[in-house]
Point group: C2
């Protein structure tokens, strides 16, 4: 069911300094920061060839990554996004297996304009998993 | 400098139940558990097409992931491993940029039989980064 790893999301307190760090220390070029107010984040992507690193900075007071940064002020790995062919079939299979879908269980349009769902990290060894239909 | 993402490592308290979860809920087939006593872990890999997920269970009392599991008893994302062409050149560049290399700074032979180094997570927004020369 799981397809390729679309991206690894890393929450950071400051996207400018994180981008500079990836550029100077790791020799990769993050994209320009892009504000996504409807998702409560500003993002920059690092293309590493086979997948992407998504650097996330909170945007606004309701940002979904604020609580994570309260616990991890320096930042940290936030979620893994896997591609699926059919997000409704994936959701139904997960529910049958007892896994919890976050929110109301209906796919939302994610940061890439495609339907996404998030799975409860307590059901997956502490890993927040995003599924994206591609 | 950073090449492709070789794997995402997830620490888990029990590799058998984690493997069963990935199989039944996520529809992917982890490899058979492989004990690596010299690295203090038992590992199983999940191939997701473009990269791998490495499920890590502690092995022995000196396991390097015991402290992480003490803090995160259910498990969690532990590190990201990127490929590099020349691990010594990568290390020297990182040092010049002020990044700290864990241990004595000399590459060790990692779980895949190739030279690896780990970078201090405090220097990379709370992300433990492994570099593997391929």
């Amino acid at each position: 069911m799981l397809g390729r790893l679309n991206h690894v999301a890393i929450a950071v307190p400051d996207l400018g300094s994180a981008s500079a760090l990836y550029r100077t220390a790791l020799g990769v070029e993050p994209t320009k920061p892009q504000a996504l107010p409807e998702h409560g984040v500003t993002v920059a992507f690092v293309n590493v060839g086979n997948t992407k690193i998504e650097l996330l900075e909170p945007l606004g007071e309701d940002s979904p990554i604020l609580a994570f940064l309260d616990k991890n002020p320096a930042g940290g790995m936030h979620h893994l996004c896997y591609e699926v062919e059919d997000i409704i079939a994936a959701r139904d299979r997960l529910r049958e297996q007892g896994a919890r879908i976050l929110g109301d269980g209906e796919p939302k349009i994610g940061a890439h304009g495609k339907p996404v769902l998030f799975l409860h990290p307590k059901d997956f060894n502490g890993t927040l998993i995003e599924l994206e239909q591609v």
